[in-house]
Assembly symmetry: C2
Homo-oligomer: 220 residues x 2
Protein backbone atom coordinates (compact mmCIF):
# COMPACT_ATOMS: atom_id res chain seq x y z
CA UNK A 1 0.00 0.00 0.00
CA UNK A 2 2.48 2.61 1.18
CA UNK A 3 5.36 0.27 0.39
CA UNK A 4 7.55 1.32 -2.55
CA UNK A 5 7.69 -1.03 -5.58
CA UNK A 6 11.23 -2.21 -4.85
CA UNK A 7 10.13 -3.53 -1.47
CA UNK A 8 7.34 -5.56 -3.06
CA UNK A 9 9.72 -7.01 -5.64
CA UNK A 10 12.23 -8.07 -2.99
CA UNK A 11 9.46 -9.52 -0.84
CA UNK A 12 8.26 -11.61 -3.78
CA UNK A 13 11.77 -12.96 -4.22
CA UNK A 14 11.86 -13.94 -0.56
CA UNK A 15 8.51 -15.67 -0.99
CA UNK A 16 9.67 -17.52 -4.10
CA UNK A 17 12.77 -18.70 -2.27
CA UNK A 18 10.55 -19.77 0.65
CA UNK A 19 8.26 -21.68 -1.73
CA UNK A 20 11.22 -23.53 -3.23
CA UNK A 21 12.48 -24.52 0.21
CA UNK A 22 8.97 -25.51 1.32
CA UNK A 23 8.57 -27.76 -1.71
CA UNK A 24 11.86 -29.47 -0.91
CA UNK A 25 10.79 -29.90 2.71
CA UNK A 26 7.43 -31.36 1.66
CA UNK A 27 9.26 -33.91 -0.51
CA UNK A 28 11.54 -34.85 2.40
CA UNK A 29 8.54 -35.27 4.71
CA UNK A 30 6.73 -37.46 2.18
CA UNK A 31 9.78 -39.63 1.54
CA UNK A 32 10.26 -40.12 5.26
CA UNK A 33 6.55 -40.86 5.76
CA UNK A 34 6.02 -37.98 8.20
CA UNK A 35 2.65 -36.22 8.27
CA UNK A 36 3.14 -32.53 9.07
CA UNK A 37 0.55 -30.27 10.69
CA UNK A 38 1.05 -26.54 11.29
CA UNK A 39 -0.90 -24.36 13.72
CA UNK A 40 -1.59 -20.66 13.28
CA UNK A 41 -3.57 -18.23 15.44
CA UNK A 42 -3.42 -14.97 17.40
CA UNK A 43 -1.13 -14.89 20.41
CA UNK A 44 -2.98 -16.48 23.30
CA UNK A 45 -5.58 -18.46 21.34
CA UNK A 46 -4.44 -21.65 23.02
CA UNK A 47 -2.21 -23.26 20.37
CA UNK A 48 0.22 -24.63 22.95
CA UNK A 49 -2.45 -26.02 25.29
CA UNK A 50 -4.19 -27.66 22.32
CA UNK A 51 -0.91 -29.11 21.09
CA UNK A 52 0.04 -30.32 24.57
CA UNK A 53 -3.22 -32.27 24.74
CA UNK A 54 -2.78 -33.59 21.19
CA UNK A 55 0.80 -34.79 21.77
CA UNK A 56 -0.16 -36.54 25.01
CA UNK A 57 -3.03 -38.38 23.30
CA UNK A 58 -1.00 -39.35 20.24
CA UNK A 59 2.18 -40.43 22.01
CA UNK A 60 0.97 -43.94 22.94
CA UNK A 61 -0.12 -44.69 19.37
CA UNK A 62 2.45 -43.02 17.10
CA UNK A 63 5.80 -41.27 17.02
CA UNK A 64 5.18 -37.53 17.34
CA UNK A 65 7.36 -34.44 17.66
CA UNK A 66 6.93 -30.67 17.61
CA UNK A 67 8.65 -27.48 16.54
CA UNK A 68 7.44 -24.30 18.15
CA UNK A 69 8.05 -20.72 17.02
CA UNK A 70 8.21 -17.61 19.17
CA UNK A 71 10.02 -14.29 19.00
CA UNK A 72 11.62 -14.95 22.36
CA UNK A 73 11.59 -17.48 25.25
CA UNK A 74 11.61 -21.26 25.29
CA UNK A 75 8.42 -21.35 27.41
CA UNK A 76 6.34 -23.23 24.86
CA UNK A 77 8.99 -25.86 24.19
CA UNK A 78 9.26 -26.40 27.93
CA UNK A 79 5.48 -26.82 28.23
CA UNK A 80 5.32 -29.23 25.30
CA UNK A 81 8.29 -31.24 26.58
CA UNK A 82 6.05 -32.36 29.44
CA UNK A 83 4.41 -34.71 26.91
CA UNK A 84 7.83 -36.43 26.72
CA UNK A 85 8.15 -36.22 22.96
CA UNK A 86 10.93 -34.51 20.96
CA UNK A 87 10.33 -30.74 20.95
CA UNK A 88 12.44 -27.91 19.62
CA UNK A 89 11.92 -24.15 19.97
CA UNK A 90 12.58 -21.83 17.04
CA UNK A 91 13.17 -18.28 18.28
CA UNK A 92 12.65 -15.84 15.45
CA UNK A 93 14.00 -12.65 17.08
CA UNK A 94 12.02 -9.89 15.39
CA UNK A 95 10.52 -11.99 12.57
CA UNK A 96 6.76 -12.28 13.00
CA UNK A 97 6.28 -15.67 11.32
CA UNK A 98 8.08 -18.95 10.64
CA UNK A 99 9.77 -19.51 7.28
CA UNK A 100 10.65 -22.78 5.56
CA UNK A 101 14.36 -22.16 6.13
CA UNK A 102 13.85 -21.93 9.90
CA UNK A 103 12.02 -25.27 9.86
CA UNK A 104 14.76 -26.82 7.73
CA UNK A 105 17.47 -25.64 10.13
CA UNK A 106 15.57 -26.81 13.20
CA UNK A 107 15.31 -30.29 11.68
CA UNK A 108 18.97 -30.49 10.60
CA UNK A 109 20.03 -33.18 13.05
CA UNK A 110 16.69 -34.99 13.31
CA UNK A 111 16.12 -38.34 11.67
CA UNK A 112 12.71 -37.91 10.08
CA UNK A 113 12.44 -41.68 9.53
CA UNK A 114 11.88 -41.97 13.27
CA UNK A 115 8.70 -39.87 13.16
CA UNK A 116 5.09 -40.42 12.07
CA UNK A 117 3.71 -36.98 12.76
CA UNK A 118 5.34 -33.56 13.21
CA UNK A 119 3.53 -30.49 14.52
CA UNK A 120 4.77 -26.97 13.80
CA UNK A 121 3.37 -24.21 16.00
CA UNK A 122 3.79 -20.85 14.30
CA UNK A 123 4.44 -17.48 15.97
CA UNK A 124 1.16 -15.98 17.25
CA UNK A 125 0.10 -13.81 14.32
CA UNK A 126 -3.02 -13.80 12.13
CA UNK A 127 -1.42 -12.11 9.13
CA UNK A 128 2.05 -12.97 7.88
CA UNK A 129 2.16 -16.75 8.57
CA UNK A 130 -0.51 -17.15 5.88
CA UNK A 131 2.05 -16.20 3.20
CA UNK A 132 4.74 -18.70 4.16
CA UNK A 133 4.44 -22.33 3.11
CA UNK A 134 6.32 -24.54 5.60
CA UNK A 135 5.94 -27.77 3.63
CA UNK A 136 3.11 -28.91 5.90
CA UNK A 137 0.34 -31.35 4.86
CA UNK A 138 -2.34 -29.63 6.91
CA UNK A 139 -2.70 -26.15 8.34
CA UNK A 140 -4.97 -25.48 11.31
CA UNK A 141 -6.24 -22.03 12.13
CA UNK A 142 -7.30 -21.63 15.74
CA UNK A 143 -9.43 -18.89 17.25
CA UNK A 144 -10.67 -18.76 20.81
CA UNK A 145 -14.22 -17.95 21.89
CA UNK A 146 -12.82 -14.88 23.66
CA UNK A 147 -11.58 -13.19 20.47
CA UNK A 148 -14.80 -12.11 18.77
CA UNK A 149 -16.91 -13.87 16.16
CA UNK A 150 -15.82 -11.63 13.28
CA UNK A 151 -12.11 -12.55 13.33
CA UNK A 152 -12.43 -14.58 10.07
CA UNK A 153 -13.84 -11.52 8.28
CA UNK A 154 -11.01 -9.35 9.56
CA UNK A 155 -8.24 -11.85 8.79
CA UNK A 156 -9.63 -13.68 5.74
CA UNK A 157 -6.32 -14.88 4.26
CA UNK A 158 -5.32 -16.96 7.24
CA UNK A 159 -8.69 -18.74 7.09
CA UNK A 160 -8.42 -19.15 3.33
CA UNK A 161 -5.04 -20.83 3.55
CA UNK A 162 -6.02 -23.21 6.38
CA UNK A 163 -7.57 -26.69 6.07
CA UNK A 164 -9.67 -26.66 9.21
CA UNK A 165 -10.76 -24.11 11.82
CA UNK A 166 -10.53 -24.99 15.49
CA UNK A 167 -12.53 -22.87 17.93
CA UNK A 168 -10.69 -23.13 21.25
CA UNK A 169 -11.53 -22.44 24.92
CA UNK A 170 -15.09 -23.60 24.28
CA UNK A 171 -15.44 -24.05 28.08
CA UNK A 172 -15.50 -20.23 28.27
CA UNK A 173 -18.28 -19.87 25.66
CA UNK A 174 -21.01 -19.03 28.16
CA UNK A 175 -18.84 -16.64 30.20
CA UNK A 176 -18.04 -14.57 27.09
CA UNK A 177 -21.50 -14.99 25.50
CA UNK A 178 -19.90 -16.59 22.44
CA UNK A 179 -22.23 -16.56 19.43
CA UNK A 180 -21.42 -19.85 17.74
CA UNK A 181 -23.72 -19.23 14.78
CA UNK A 182 -22.15 -15.83 14.05
CA UNK A 183 -18.66 -17.34 14.22
CA UNK A 184 -19.63 -20.16 11.84
CA UNK A 185 -21.22 -17.67 9.45
CA UNK A 186 -18.02 -15.59 9.47
CA UNK A 187 -15.93 -18.65 8.68
CA UNK A 188 -18.26 -19.89 5.95
CA UNK A 189 -18.39 -16.49 4.30
CA UNK A 190 -14.62 -16.39 3.82
CA UNK A 191 -14.15 -20.12 3.27
CA UNK A 192 -17.38 -21.88 2.26
CA UNK A 193 -17.51 -25.52 3.35
CA UNK A 194 -14.65 -25.25 5.86
CA UNK A 195 -14.88 -27.81 8.64
CA UNK A 196 -15.03 -26.29 12.13
CA UNK A 197 -14.36 -28.08 15.40
CA UNK A 198 -15.08 -26.80 18.91
CA UNK A 199 -12.53 -27.83 21.50
CA UNK A 200 -11.42 -27.22 25.05
CA UNK A 201 -7.92 -28.28 26.00
CA UNK A 202 -8.99 -27.77 29.60
CA UNK A 203 -12.00 -30.13 29.68
CA UNK A 204 -11.03 -32.30 26.72
CA UNK A 205 -14.26 -31.47 24.86
CA UNK A 206 -13.87 -31.94 21.10
CA UNK A 207 -10.42 -33.55 21.34
CA UNK A 208 -11.68 -37.02 20.21
CA UNK A 209 -13.35 -35.42 17.15
CA UNK A 210 -10.13 -33.58 16.34
CA UNK A 211 -8.04 -36.76 16.65
CA UNK A 212 -10.55 -38.60 14.44
CA UNK A 213 -10.26 -35.83 11.82
CA UNK A 214 -6.46 -36.04 11.98
CA UNK A 215 -6.55 -39.85 11.68
CA UNK A 216 -8.80 -39.66 8.62
CA UNK A 217 -6.41 -37.23 6.89
CA UNK A 218 -3.35 -39.16 7.96
CA UNK A 219 -4.81 -42.40 6.57
CA UNK A 220 -5.82 -40.93 3.23
Amino acid sequence: MSTPPRMIEVRENVLKQNDRLARALRKRFQEAGVYVVSLVSSPGSGKTAFLEKTLARLKPICRVAALVGDLATENDAERLARAEVPVRQITTGTVCHLEAQMVERALEDWNLQELDCLFIENVGNMVCPSSYDLGEDMRLVLMSVTEGEDKPLKYPTIFNTADIAIITKIDLAAAVEFDSEAAHNSIQSVRPGMQVLHVSAKTGQGIPEWLEFLRSRFAS
Copy 2:
Protein backbone atom coordinates in the same frame (compact mmCIF):
# COMPACT_ATOMS: atom_id res chain seq x y z
CA MET B 1 17.23 -14.14 10.38
CA SER B 2 16.71 -16.02 7.14
CA THR B 3 16.18 -12.75 5.30
CA PRO B 4 18.90 -11.80 2.81
CA PRO B 5 20.86 -8.57 3.50
CA ARG B 6 19.19 -6.63 0.66
CA MET B 7 15.79 -7.17 2.24
CA ILE B 8 16.99 -5.76 5.55
CA GLU B 9 18.47 -2.71 3.87
CA VAL B 10 15.23 -1.96 2.00
CA ARG B 11 13.19 -2.49 5.16
CA GLU B 12 15.37 0.02 6.98
CA ASN B 13 14.71 2.57 4.23
CA VAL B 14 10.97 2.02 4.62
CA LEU B 15 11.32 2.54 8.36
CA LYS B 16 13.35 5.72 7.90
CA GLN B 17 10.70 7.08 5.54
CA ASN B 18 8.03 6.13 8.09
CA ASP B 19 9.96 7.88 10.86
CA ARG B 20 10.18 11.06 8.80
CA LEU B 21 6.45 11.03 8.13
CA ALA B 22 5.71 10.23 11.77
CA ARG B 23 7.80 13.19 12.92
CA ALA B 24 5.89 15.49 10.57
CA LEU B 25 2.59 14.08 11.85
CA ARG B 26 3.64 14.59 15.48
CA LYS B 27 4.45 18.22 14.70
CA ARG B 28 1.02 18.69 13.06
CA PHE B 29 -0.70 17.14 16.06
CA GLN B 30 1.20 19.37 18.49
CA GLU B 31 0.50 22.52 16.50
CA ALA B 32 -3.20 21.67 16.37
CA GLY B 33 -3.24 20.83 20.09
CA VAL B 34 -4.42 17.25 19.56
CA TYR B 35 -3.27 14.55 21.98
CA VAL B 36 -2.83 11.24 20.12
CA VAL B 37 -3.08 7.80 21.69
CA SER B 38 -2.44 4.55 19.80
CA LEU B 39 -3.59 1.07 20.85
CA VAL B 40 -1.78 -2.17 20.03
CA SER B 41 -2.60 -5.77 20.99
CA SER B 42 -3.31 -9.25 19.64
CA PRO B 43 -6.46 -9.71 17.61
CA GLY B 44 -9.34 -10.13 20.03
CA SER B 45 -7.74 -8.55 23.11
CA GLY B 46 -10.59 -6.09 23.34
CA LYS B 47 -9.09 -2.91 21.84
CA THR B 48 -12.38 -1.90 20.22
CA ALA B 49 -14.54 -2.54 23.30
CA PHE B 50 -12.06 -0.57 25.43
CA LEU B 51 -12.00 2.26 22.93
CA GLU B 52 -15.81 2.28 22.64
CA LYS B 53 -16.05 2.76 26.41
CA THR B 54 -13.30 5.41 26.39
CA LEU B 55 -14.90 7.45 23.59
CA ALA B 56 -18.32 7.36 25.26
CA ARG B 57 -16.86 8.61 28.56
CA LEU B 58 -14.72 11.32 26.95
CA LYS B 59 -17.30 12.65 24.50
CA PRO B 60 -19.14 14.87 27.02
CA ILE B 61 -15.92 16.51 28.20
CA CYS B 62 -13.72 16.86 25.10
CA ARG B 63 -13.64 16.58 21.32
CA VAL B 64 -12.53 13.04 20.48
CA ALA B 65 -12.15 11.02 17.26
CA ALA B 66 -10.74 7.66 16.20
CA LEU B 67 -8.94 5.94 13.34
CA VAL B 68 -9.13 2.18 13.30
CA GLY B 69 -6.97 -0.23 11.30
CA ASP B 70 -7.90 -3.69 10.03
CA LEU B 71 -6.93 -5.83 7.06
CA ALA B 72 -10.55 -6.03 5.97
CA THR B 73 -14.08 -4.99 7.07
CA GLU B 74 -15.42 -1.76 8.52
CA ASN B 75 -16.81 -3.60 11.57
CA ASP B 76 -14.74 -1.73 14.12
CA ALA B 77 -15.51 1.69 12.68
CA GLU B 78 -19.20 0.81 12.77
CA ARG B 79 -18.93 -0.24 16.41
CA LEU B 80 -17.03 2.90 17.39
CA ALA B 81 -19.43 5.13 15.47
CA ARG B 82 -22.07 4.23 18.06
CA ALA B 83 -20.24 6.64 20.38
CA GLU B 84 -21.28 9.36 17.88
CA VAL B 85 -17.80 10.75 17.41
CA PRO B 86 -15.87 11.03 14.12
CA VAL B 87 -14.45 7.60 13.21
CA ARG B 88 -12.62 6.42 10.12
CA GLN B 89 -11.57 2.89 9.17
CA ILE B 90 -8.18 2.27 7.55
CA THR B 91 -8.22 -1.05 5.69
CA THR B 92 -4.67 -2.24 5.13
CA GLY B 93 -5.32 -5.13 2.71
CA THR B 94 -2.46 -7.53 3.41
CA VAL B 95 -0.33 -5.15 5.48
CA CYS B 96 -0.14 -6.36 9.09
CA HIS B 97 0.33 -2.96 10.76
CA LEU B 98 -0.49 0.72 10.35
CA GLU B 99 2.12 3.09 8.91
CA ALA B 100 2.43 6.85 9.31
CA GLN B 101 1.47 7.38 5.67
CA MET B 102 -1.85 5.56 6.18
CA VAL B 103 -2.63 7.80 9.15
CA GLU B 104 -1.69 10.89 7.16
CA ARG B 105 -3.99 9.89 4.28
CA ALA B 106 -6.87 9.04 6.59
CA LEU B 107 -6.62 12.52 8.13
CA GLU B 108 -6.36 14.38 4.80
CA ASP B 109 -9.74 16.10 4.96
CA TRP B 110 -10.00 16.40 8.75
CA ASN B 111 -9.54 19.69 10.52
CA LEU B 112 -7.31 18.76 13.43
CA GLN B 113 -8.06 22.10 15.10
CA GLU B 114 -11.50 20.71 15.88
CA LEU B 115 -10.10 17.86 17.99
CA ASP B 116 -8.64 17.50 21.47
CA CYS B 117 -7.86 13.82 21.45
CA LEU B 118 -7.39 11.29 18.64
CA PHE B 119 -7.22 7.52 19.16
CA ILE B 120 -5.56 5.22 16.63
CA GLU B 121 -6.39 1.53 16.93
CA ASN B 122 -3.74 -0.55 15.17
CA VAL B 123 -4.25 -3.85 13.34
CA GLY B 124 -4.33 -6.77 15.82
CA ASN B 125 -0.69 -7.85 15.85
CA MET B 126 1.89 -8.10 18.63
CA VAL B 127 4.96 -7.84 16.42
CA CYS B 128 5.17 -5.41 13.51
CA PRO B 129 3.23 -2.39 14.90
CA SER B 130 6.06 -1.95 17.41
CA SER B 131 8.40 -0.84 14.60
CA TYR B 132 6.16 1.86 13.14
CA ASP B 133 5.94 5.26 14.79
CA LEU B 134 2.56 6.85 13.98
CA GLY B 135 3.33 10.24 15.52
CA GLU B 136 1.35 9.37 18.64
CA ASP B 137 1.96 10.91 22.10
CA MET B 138 1.15 7.72 23.98
CA ARG B 139 1.09 4.07 23.00
CA LEU B 140 -1.02 1.56 24.94
CA VAL B 141 -0.35 -2.14 24.79
CA LEU B 142 -3.35 -4.25 25.75
CA MET B 143 -3.42 -7.92 26.69
CA SER B 144 -6.45 -9.83 27.90
CA VAL B 145 -6.51 -12.16 30.89
CA THR B 146 -7.33 -15.01 28.49
CA GLU B 147 -4.03 -14.78 26.59
CA GLY B 148 -1.52 -16.16 29.06
CA GLU B 149 0.63 -14.39 31.61
CA ASP B 150 3.88 -14.81 29.64
CA LYS B 151 2.86 -12.76 26.59
CA PRO B 152 5.21 -9.87 27.54
CA LEU B 153 8.16 -12.28 27.61
CA LYS B 154 7.23 -13.66 24.19
CA TYR B 155 6.58 -10.26 22.58
CA PRO B 156 9.01 -8.00 24.45
CA THR B 157 9.38 -5.26 21.83
CA ILE B 158 5.72 -4.29 21.81
CA PHE B 159 5.85 -3.86 25.60
CA ASN B 160 9.13 -1.99 25.38
CA THR B 161 7.75 0.55 22.94
CA ALA B 162 4.50 1.16 24.85
CA ASP B 163 3.86 3.72 27.61
CA ILE B 164 1.35 1.76 29.65
CA ALA B 165 0.03 -1.81 29.75
CA ILE B 166 -3.72 -2.41 30.01
CA ILE B 167 -4.86 -5.85 31.11
CA THR B 168 -8.34 -6.29 29.63
CA LYS B 169 -11.34 -8.57 30.26
CA ILE B 170 -10.52 -8.57 33.96
CA ASP B 171 -14.10 -9.77 34.60
CA LEU B 172 -12.95 -13.14 33.20
CA ALA B 173 -9.92 -13.39 35.51
CA ALA B 174 -11.44 -16.03 37.79
CA ALA B 175 -12.88 -18.11 34.93
CA VAL B 176 -9.45 -18.41 33.28
CA GLU B 177 -7.51 -18.61 36.57
CA PHE B 178 -5.53 -15.51 35.61
CA ASP B 179 -2.34 -15.19 37.65
CA SER B 180 -2.05 -11.44 38.13
CA GLU B 181 1.29 -11.62 39.90
CA ALA B 182 2.86 -13.69 37.12
CA ALA B 183 1.55 -11.25 34.50
CA HIS B 184 2.94 -8.27 36.40
CA ASN B 185 6.29 -10.02 36.81
CA SER B 186 6.42 -10.70 33.07
CA ILE B 187 5.71 -7.05 32.29
CA GLN B 188 8.23 -5.75 34.83
CA SER B 189 10.94 -8.07 33.58
CA VAL B 190 10.74 -6.66 30.04
CA ARG B 191 9.87 -3.09 31.06
CA PRO B 192 10.80 -2.31 34.67
CA GLY B 193 8.54 0.32 36.22
CA MET B 194 5.82 0.12 33.58
CA GLN B 195 2.42 1.16 34.87
CA VAL B 196 -0.24 -1.53 34.54
CA LEU B 197 -4.01 -1.04 34.72
CA HIS B 198 -6.67 -3.75 35.02
CA VAL B 199 -9.88 -2.99 33.16
CA SER B 200 -13.13 -4.51 32.02
CA ALA B 201 -15.00 -2.77 29.23
CA LYS B 202 -17.97 -4.97 30.17
CA THR B 203 -18.28 -4.03 33.85
CA GLY B 204 -16.48 -0.68 33.67
CA GLN B 205 -13.90 -1.79 36.27
CA GLY B 206 -10.66 0.20 35.96
CA ILE B 207 -12.06 2.68 33.43
CA PRO B 208 -12.01 5.64 35.91
CA GLU B 209 -8.33 4.88 36.71
CA TRP B 210 -7.53 4.75 32.98
CA LEU B 211 -9.28 8.07 32.32
CA GLU B 212 -7.43 9.61 35.26
CA PHE B 213 -4.11 8.38 33.83
CA LEU B 214 -5.02 9.81 30.43
CA ARG B 215 -6.04 13.13 31.97
CA SER B 216 -2.74 13.38 33.86
CA ARG B 217 -0.74 12.82 30.67
CA PHE B 218 -2.93 15.11 28.63
CA ALA B 219 -2.48 17.89 31.21
CA SER B 220 1.30 17.57 31.42
